[in-house]
Symmetry: C2
């Protein structure tokens, strides 16, 4: 997967991964990897800062817990986050539809 391909679409994926219930960062990475047949194997340096960014934007909220001696920061969607996820889905459909159409047709000669 090209490195830059994800730009601008990561937030939607993160929100989607939290839709079914709260997760901690490491688990988000696994969900994204497994749910994409290995296409998205994101480094922690990508995911952790992004989750904090979403928290800053009020789309998720986090809390600490400790599970078998390991501390976890668990993230959860806020109502605004659910709305944003909806928006992202709509935006993605428009965007991907437009790109697919353009890539497919090549384009008829103009002038």
């Amino acid at each position: 997967m090209r490195a830059e391909a994800l730009k601008g679409h990561l937030d939607g994926l993160l929100l989607a991964s939290l839709e079914a219930g709260p997760l901690h960062g490491y688990a988000v990475i696994e969900v994204l990897r497994d749910g994409s047949s290995g296409h998205f194997d994101l480094p922690t340096g990508t995911v952790y800062p992004a989750l904090r960014r979403l928290e800053g934007a009020g789309l998720v909220q986090s809390g600490w817990s400790v599970v078998s001696g390991r501390r976890r920061r668990t993230y959860e969607l806020t109502p605004a986050g659910r709305r944003a996820l909806n928006d992202q889905r709509t935006l993605w459909d428009e965007f991907s539809g437009a790109v697919s159409a353009l890539l497919r047709r090549g384009a008829e000669a103009a002038t």
Copy 2:
């Protein structure tokens, strides 16, 4: 359309717009706008530098012409550009498939 959405996908669209035959920059903008139902109305500050970038990468080549008093820099795909366009199409299918799957399913809870 979100501003960052396009990041990493513009090159493929530009190459696709040139597939049917040579075009100048302004015409590329029109093809992208009309071929996407207005979703992609790209500013010249996006398209012109990107075309030069593609030329630097050897994927397109350009030449000047003058049409009714206006100078035009016309771009054309190179063989490498056609190969790159093919690659972009494959990459896009993988990428968009993975994103669509993740956005759709939300994701089953993982401990």
